[in-house]
């Protein structure tokens, strides 16, 4: 453990130096650090998401520790790699639960891995905080399980309104990732779109490893849709829009906010042009929390942030505020403070507060975007709406 802690400390030290220009650098607080545990994938098929979390966390930590830390103590995290594999998340959960320095836990990534560990956190009275856990049952294990992941019951009606009312989609074909997230999202989208009077002419669920979408798109083409809606991550969405061109399916495409990443445009190339999405934020959004996030992210990493960076950043900022407001830094008080914090500045929500019954945050913002000239730009000059 010594080597790991040392690694984290030296890591943060170099970061502090490299961003010294960006912030009026207050020297880092010197007290005994306050720790959060992070359980997530750093190796294995989902490793990219763990790496994106880290970038978001580190950026938020620079800001939190640069402005006095937590009551004069620096905030740090211990990241344990689980490959998002349930047998490893349960072991890591036991490790975090036993480590008295840890005041709350963040993660894991995929639902099977995260929810396998929930009973352990709940019983031990350590907050398990899901950054990306939109599974409808995730917080139901008990009162120590919280999430600021956007509920699909909130997000998808906004997407449906964008697609049907403003883009004028009437006969929609839906392609969705056939996972718990994709399936739940698809169901909410379909229900909302039907309510608004659109017809769903086809729904196709595909496996996460899928690379070839030509056959799927020919099947979709036969249903004669006037538009496509994608419940996808950016890598598969890029494959789908490329294959759509090759199969001669030339209809407008809209997608859920999860495709919001500079990588989507890079991987999709020309085929990404004209794709619509309703993202949580976009770089030109004038809200101060977005501007702080986007400009400091670019300064630190030299690239545009994406949705997963934003979730991680938001979560760490939230915990910065929760731990500052908590009267004591014990686990139960941290949980009680989560229930109490109001209007925490958030890239995704604008102002985040928890519904103490569902232990989730309501009211995600969304900005209606379209890919134009190789980047996401605001659609039709409309404003970001709630």
């Amino acid at each position: 453990m010594i080597s790991r802690r040392l690694f984290l400390q030296t890591g943060t030290a170099t970061i502090a130096i490299s961003t010294a220009g960006g912030f009026a650098q207050a020297s880092e607080p010197a007290g005994e650090p306050v720790y959060l545990g992070v359980s997530g994938p750093l190796t294995g098929p989902n490793a990219q998401y763990g790496a994106q979390w880290k970038q978001g966390f580190d950026l938020a930590l620079d800001q939190i520790n640069g402005s006095g830390g937590i009551k004069g103590r620096p905030l740090r995290y211990l990241f344990e790699d689980t490959q998002s594999d349930p047998k490893q998340t349960v072991a890591v959960a036991q490790k975090f639960v036993a480590d008295k320095r840890i005041v709350a836990e963040l993660g894991d990534f995929a639902s099977p891995a995260s929810m396998a560990a929930s009973p352990i956190y709940q019983r031990a009275g350590l907050v398990q905080f899901g950054l990306t856990n939109s599974h409808p049952d995730f917080t139901k294990t008990g009162d120590f399980i919280w999430s600021n992941s956007v509920s699909q019951a909130d997000e998808q009606p906004l997407n449906a309104a964008f697609a049907v009312k403003r883009l004028g989609f009437k006969r929609i074909a839906v392609l969705h990732l056939n996972t718990d997230w994709g399936r739940t999202s698809k169901d909410h989208f379909v229900a909302a779109a039907k309510n608004l009077g659109a017809e769903i002419v086809a729904t196709e669920g595909y496996l996460p490893e899928e690379k070839d979408f030509r056959s799927t798109l020919v099947r979709v083409r036969d249903a004669n849709p006037d538009s496509l809606f994608l419940v996808s991550y950016y890598a598969d969405a890029a494959l789908i829009v490329r294959a759509a061109r090759q199969t001669g399916l030339a209809v407008p495409v809209a997608a859920s906010s999860s495709i919001y990443s500079p990588k989507f445009v890079e991987l999709g190339g020309e085929a990404a042009e004209g794709v619509f999405t309703a993202a949580r934020f976009f770089p030109a959004d004038p809200r101060p929390e977005v501007q702080t996030f986007v400009t400091s992210f670019k300064a630190k990493y030299g690239k545009e942030p994406d949705a997963f960076n934003a979730y991680a950043y938001d979560t760490m900022v939230l915990f910065g505020q929760v731990l500052r407001e908590a009267p004591e830094l014990d686990r139960r008080t941290v949980r009680d403070t989560l229930a109490r914090v109001k209007d925490v500045p958030s890239v995704v929500y604008g102002k985040a507060s928890f519904d103490t019954k569902t232990r989730r945050v309501a009211g995600a913002r969304n900005a209606e975007l379209v890919v134009k000239g190789g980047s996401f730009t605001l659609w039709g000059g409309g404003k970001a709406t709630n």
Binding site: V90, P112, S215, T216, V218, Q246
Partner: protein
């Protein structure tokens, strides 16, 4: 009607892509009789070498291909020389494990060097497209097809017309006879690995350009499809691999057209099973061809098992029982609980694969069947958990035996490939049979473990329960192996022709082995489901099947103590390497390679 034409074209396009890997796999299998799980990793390396050439060095397209071929061919030679050749005298199963270890090492190295983010590979060819049916095909489609066919023809000519080609074929037919006739078998293997790997590397970069995306983890799925295509065409048959790939692509495409996208792989694996059962030598094998594994008995090599001194075993057992009282570490206890559950899985596989010689690569399916049965009975019908655990084991035994029964007539590697396919089919049925399994949403809120009406939440209580279950079944298995049943199963493994001529009904005994194994694995899966409280179709995935086999081989095939020790090593090592963060799976792969290299018969030896 035009759509069917389009579906056919789409099938040919994707089949084209499968062929790039299938040809290399066929070549390696033809000569080394080895399913090379590292082949997909070579393909990944090829893709990243191509990316560096195009994006960093800005090489023109032909030069990019030359660089990729050169580097991956060298990699192939290195893999053969240091990964496979030292195991030439070891049981056949050892190199299989070595390729799994190699694939960990290669994938992780790529991931560490290039980050796990997907990357775009800029296309270096003009973007001309030809309209065909309702869609279009591009230059790259034609090039991939061209390279596939050219490579296969060149290989065919090489094998039929050149002296080295004869040597390769002679080695494929009978390694020892070829050596006796003066063929430098090692050199032949080197050549084969170089050629196959170079082709795999080109495949990686072309597929990267085709989809404009490469990731360090894309190898496993590609290997899987390559293996299916290879088997359809007839293992070791190079032109057959191409036709098999195209056929696989078309069947998948028609499957999507008929039932929808989430059924694509179901069609692929059902095709695999049908071919294996009806024509195990592949579609194009001549009737006169030798049976696929002529040398029975060498697949699992006999060795002298290590006799563990009774006092040592007793001391270890006492320590295991007393441990929760001695140390206060939930982490250690949880990890060991996982060890006992995977030991149960290892016991199951060591019985099926080690004792009766049916090397299964689909064991995760048994966990899934047990887990879902127990979870759904407890949740939907409110049955007590001790009873549903038992039912989980029974259903896994019954259903597992039934599902595998078509594969009873197969031998050697064919059993592995068939069980791999059956495992995938079970996972896909769980995903698609929503009315029962709740599909991708999974089963949440599974009741906790309970015994005599008391719910077990405590980490230590769960630990003792798992330990007791595992120990009881391990003792049962020891008893079984010492009985006439154990002797019969070993006879089937060592020489099934001789066993049959002694009047042993092979299928019945294989069925018995799978029934016992299924019960053990089903129980382990059911226990896991209640411990996790949530499962979906991804909880018990193919990686777990591979892990189960690794446990059984590492411990020593058929060895009860070995399965427990193997589980301790393979569940424990990644936890021990935790301090190494991103490097831990790399270290795990290296440790695995070293273990195979120096203990190819397993830690405790074959029983």
């Amino acid at each position: 009607m035009t759509s069917w034409f389009d579906h056919t074209i789409n099938g040919l396009i994707i089949g084209n892509i499968y062929a790039l890997l299938a040809v290399g796999l066929a070549l390696i299998f033809g000569v080394s009789r080895l399913i090379n799980f590292a082949h997909g990793s070579v393909y990944v390396v090829g893709a990243y070498v191509g990316w560096v050439a195009v994006s960093v060095l800005h090489t023109p397209f032909p030069l990019t291909l030359v660089i990729v071929v050169a580097l991956t061919a060298v990699l192939g030679v290195v893999v053969e020389r240091f990964g496979i050749r030292p195991l030439a005298g070891a049981p056949r199963i050892a190199p299989l494990l070595a390729t799994i270890g190699l694939s960990f090492v290669l994938d992780q190295t790529v991931q560490i060097l290039f980050s796990p983010d997907p990357r775009a590979v800029p296309m270096q060819l003009p973007n001309w497209r030809v309209a065909i049916g309702g869609g279009s095909i591009g230059v790259l489609d034609l090039l991939i097809g061209g390279i596939g066919i050219t490579a296969a023809s060149a290989l065919f000519a090489f094998l039929k017309l050149t002296k080295w080609g004869w040597a390769v074929r002679a080695t494929a037919l009978d390694r020892d006879a070829a050596r006796a006739m003066g063929v430098d078998v090692d050199k032949v293997n080197s050549i084969v690995f170089a050629v196959a790997s170079g082709l795999g590397g080109v495949g990686g970069v072309l597929v990267g350009m085709y989809y404009n995306v490469i990731t360090p983890t894309m190898g496993f799925e590609a290997t899987l499809k390559g293996i299916v295509a290879e088997v359809v065409g007839g293992v070791g048959n190079v032109p057959g691999a191409i036709v098999g790939s195209l056929l696989l692509g078309i069947i998948e495409s028609y499957g999507v057209a008929l039932l929808g996208t989430s059924y694509r792989n179901l069609f692929a694996f059902i095709l695999l099973i049908v071919i294996l059962v009806l024509r195990p030598n592949g579609l194009f094998a001549s009737r006169r061809q030798l049976p696929p594994e002529p040398m029975t008995g060498t697949f699992v090599a006999p060795s002298r098992p290590v006799r563990l001194p009774v006092p040592l075993v007793a001391a270890a057992a006492a320590l295991a029982i007393a441990l929760p009282l001695l140390v206060d570490s939930g982490y250690l206890i949880q990890t060991l609980t996982n060890v006992w559950l995977y030991a149960l899985l290892g016991l199951s596989l060591t019985l099926v694969a080690g004792t009766s010689g049916q090397v299964s690569l689909g064991h995760a399916a048994l966990l899934a069947i047990g887990g879902y049965t127990s979870a759904l009975l407890a949740l939907n019908l409110g049955w007590p958990v001790w009873l549903t655990l038992f039912c989980g084991g029974l259903v896994a035994a019954a259903l597992g035996t039934l599902l595998v029964s078509p594969a009873f007539r197969l031998r050697g590697h064919y059993v592995s490939i068939a069980t791999l396919g059956i495992g995938e089919i079970v996972a896909l049925v769980i995903l698609n049979w929503e009315s029962v399994t709740r599909g991708p949403i999974g089963v949440a809120g599974i009741p906790p473990l309970s015994l005599f009406g008391y719910e077990l939440y405590d980490t230590n209580a769960i630990y003792w329960f798992a330990l007791a279950l595992m120990a009881a079944l391990a003792l049962l298995q020891l008893r079984l192996l010492g009985s006439h049943l154990g002797r019969t199963l070993r006879a089937v493994r060592d020489d099934d022709v001789a066993a049959r001529s002694f009047g042993i009904g092979l299928n019945r005994y294989k069925g018995l082995a799978f029934a016992f194994g299924g019960f053990f694995a089903g129980l382990s899966g059911a226990f896991t489901a209640h411990m996790y409280s949530y499962i979906n179709h991804e909880t018990f995935n193919t990686q777990i099947s591979v892990l189960a086999l690794t446990i059984a081989i590492l411990g020593g095939m058929g060895n009860v103590g070995g399965a427990i020790l193997g589980s301790l090593a393979l569940i424990g090592l990644p936890e021990v390497f935790r301090v190494a963060a991103e490097y831990r799976i790399l270290l795990y792969g290296i440790a695995l390679l070293l273990l195979v290299r120096f203990r190819p018969q397993g830690l405790l030896g074959t029983v």
